[in-house]
């Protein structure tokens, strides 16, 4: 029997008058990667903090690795078996990389060798360098290594790539995939759609303390029925008649922007009209709705 790594039911948390969490229920299976997407203030961090035993929920209950993080005993057991990466600043700047890993390893009953971790994260040559002297990407890999120092069964990564350049981001993605391949369950929060789609098969979109959509990235998009967008570059083309499932067709300077349920009828219609009028089609692009579109649709806001 595979117990879920996380089972949250109806979690609520308010700070004063503000509802940070408004009934969040979520199950994360063992060994999967869950990406929590949402704008700042959506409640992602509060949700993680409750699971990590840093905060108590006002309502609802949570089980993490079969334990209740709201009780002192459960909290200790959870914290022994989870790995956590907070924002990249949460390190002692004047300790070296090796010293940092050894310090944190000493705080856990089960531990991974610092040398192995540094090798895995590609920072073995930085072992004797003080953390304050590292680049942003290297620092973030120390934060990741720190999250693995107790050989955790479940890893929480709070915005692991925020503020990193694209190259460093790719390094961190590789490291996260490496963690997942070892069977460790991962929960990560992110602002980046690309990060969620590339890393996770299980995505939950949060807004205003609620989960507004959950599933695979494709599943979320198709469930919303956002359809497709067809851009046609063909100066002088007029579109007469109709095609199945067209929602809107807007003429621009040198072509059309068409929104529709499906691409094929639209493409056939455009080609037929162009042939009839003897107009050249310079370019035709079909865009499927992305997770980003889904997000904007769901929250009425841009993510970044």
């Amino acid at each position: 029997m595979a117990l879920p790594a996380i089972e949250a039911v109806g979690l609520c948390k308010r700070y004063g008058a503000r509802k940070a969490l408004d009934g969040v229920s979520l199950t994360v299976a063992e060994g999967e990667i869950l990406a929590l997407l949402g704008p700042n203030g959506a409640g992602k961090t509060t949700f993680l903090e409750i699971l990590e035993g840093l905060r108590l929920a006002d309502e609802g209950r949570a089980r993490v690795l079969g334990e209740d993080p709201a009780t002192p005993r459960g909290r200790r057991r959870v914290q022994e078996r989870i790995g956590v990466s907070l924002q990249s600043t949460s390190l002692f700047d004047t300790l070296t990389v090796a010293e940092t890993l050894e310090l944190f390893a000493a705080l856990y009953p089960r531990r991974e060798s610092a040398a192995d971790l540094m090798a895995r994260m590609g920072i073995a040559d930085r072992a004797r360098v003080r953390v304050g002297e590292l680049s942003g990407g290297q620092r973030q890999r120390v934060v990741l290594a720190l999250a693995l120092v107790n050989r955790p069964d479940l890893v929480f990564l709070d915005e692991p790539t925020t503020g990193l350049d694209p190259v460093a981001r790719r390094y961190v993605w590789d490291s996260i995939r490496d963690i997942a391949e070892r069977g460790q369950t991962i929960v990560l929060t992110t602002h980046y759609m690309e990060e969620a789609t590339r890393l996770a098969r299980h995505v939950a979109i949060m807004d205003c303390g609620r989960i507004v959509a959950e599933g695979t990235p494709e599943g979320i998009v198709s469930a919303l029925g956002l359809g497709v967008r067809v851009r046609v570059e063909a100066p002088g083309l007029t579109l007469a008649g109709e095609a199945v499932g067209v929602r809107s067709a807007v003429a621009g300077d040198d072509g059309w922007r068409i929104e529709a349920d499906r691409a094929e009828p639209v493409v056939e219609w455009v080609f037929a009209q162009a042939r009839e009028q003897g107009v050249d089609i310079r370019r035709l692009e079909v865009e499927r709705a992305t997770l980003e579109d889904a997000f904007v649709h769901l929250t009425g806001r841009d993510l970044a």
Binding site: L54, E80, I82, V84, T94, L95, E99, L107
Partner: protein
């Protein structure tokens, strides 16, 4: 246990690698003591160090003559080094004897204390005259001896100053011990430590232990300098002094942690700590006795915990008294510790307040 050792080790490294703190907690009080001791402590008890250099037939005679003056300690060196020693403070005066007749006799002084310099120069003239009288076999008309007079009651300013400086060091070190906590809190490091299964009090215990270690090093260094440079002699009362030091140190660390709880940023914590530090330093009787004051000022003076620590250290270390003499001081310090610990616990926060 392993966790505590690791935390203590890491915190020691953090403290030692924080250069600013090290300078302020080690160098500043020493500098202060050196300055005050040199300005006010010179005439009472400590000797004038004279570096004698030069050549010619009279050099040895001058050196011997100076060595016989009470309160003078004479060392022999070469002219260049002699002047360097005055410049670096290793000697109070350099006397360079030249060849020829009349032999040129140059006196170099540091210029730090005009009154004392004048006296010392007079002594040199006197010695030179005595040497001349002896060598030329002219019987002296006068025999003048210049002696330094020890401070009244056998207690010198240094005896007063050293325990005060020790108390001040404990206070400053304790008051500013919360700064690092604020920084760690701001940077989310405390939060990171809180998601480990380590009991969070363990981190604070390690931090306090390390702070105590730094304080002990600081006190030992200060005492060493006081003994070596100012001839300070601890008179005893080590047991009672140790208890006073421990109570005072913990009370001031607790105050520092309380400051850390109240302040939102490290800068604010620093400002608050200074706001406590400066008045306490002057009201606490570190540099001058405040016990004789009456009225509102006297009342204020009696409210300052630093005064009780300074008094306890003075009675024990300088006067050699034991527990019996410092009962009130220790009781006040213990009470302060209880109060500040309560405040620290009440206001302590692991997370930054949302802005």
């Amino acid at each position: 246990m392993k966790a505590l050792m690791a935390l203590v080790g890491a915190n020691l490294k953090l403290v030692v690698r924080n250069r600013q703190t090290m300078v302020w907690s080690l160098a500043f009080p020493l500098m202060l003591m050196l300055l005050l001791g040199l300005f006010f402590g010179h005439a009472s008890g400590s000797s004038t160090r004279v570096a004698v250099a030069g050549s010619g037939p009279y050099r040895a005679a001058v050196a011997q003559g100076l060595a016989r003056v009470p309160g003078f300690s004479v060392s022999n060196t070469n002219p260049v080094k002699a002047v360097q020693e005055v410049r670096s403070g290793k000697a109070d005066m350099a006397v360079v004897v030249g060849d020829g007749r009349p032999a040129r006799l140059t006196v170099w002084q540091s210029g730090a204390d005009v009154a004392v310099n004048g006296q010392d120069a007079l002594v040199v003239r006197q010695v030179a005259a005595a040497v001349q009288a002896a060598l030329t076999r002219t019987p002296p008309l006068f025999q003048i001896t210049v002696r330094t007079v020890a401070g009244g009651g056998g207690h010198t300013y240094i005896d007063f100053l050293v325990p005060g400086i020790l108390a001040m060091e404990l206070m400053s070190n304790g008051l500013f011990s919360g700064l690092a906590l604020v920084t760690y809190r701001e940077q989310g490091i405390l939060r990171r430590l809180r998601v480990t299964p380590m009991p969070t009090l363990l981190f604070l215990a390690a931090r306090i232990l390390v702070q105590l270690v730094v304080m002990v090093v600081q006190l030992a260094l200060t005492l060493g300098v006081a003994v070596a440079l100012f001839g300070y002699r601890p008179a005893g009362g080590a047991g009672a002094a140790a208890v006073a030091i421990l109570l005072g140190a913990l009370a001031f660390i607790a105050t520092g942690f309380f400051v850390a709880g109240v302040a939102r940023t490290a800068d604010a914590a620093s400002a608050i700590a200074n706001l406590i530090n400066l008045p306490m330093m002057f009201l606490g009787g570190v540099f001058f006795p405040t016990s004789g004051f009456g009225g509102a000022f006297g009342f204020l003076v009696r409210l300052v915990p630093l005064g009780y620590l300074a008094s306890a250290l003075r009675l024990t270390l300088s006067n050699g008294e034991g527990f019996g003499a410092v009962g009130t001081d220790l009781a006040v310090l213990a009470l302060t510790l209880l109060l500040t610990t309560g405040l620290a616990a009440r206001f302590f926060r692991w997370e930054s307040r949302p802005a």
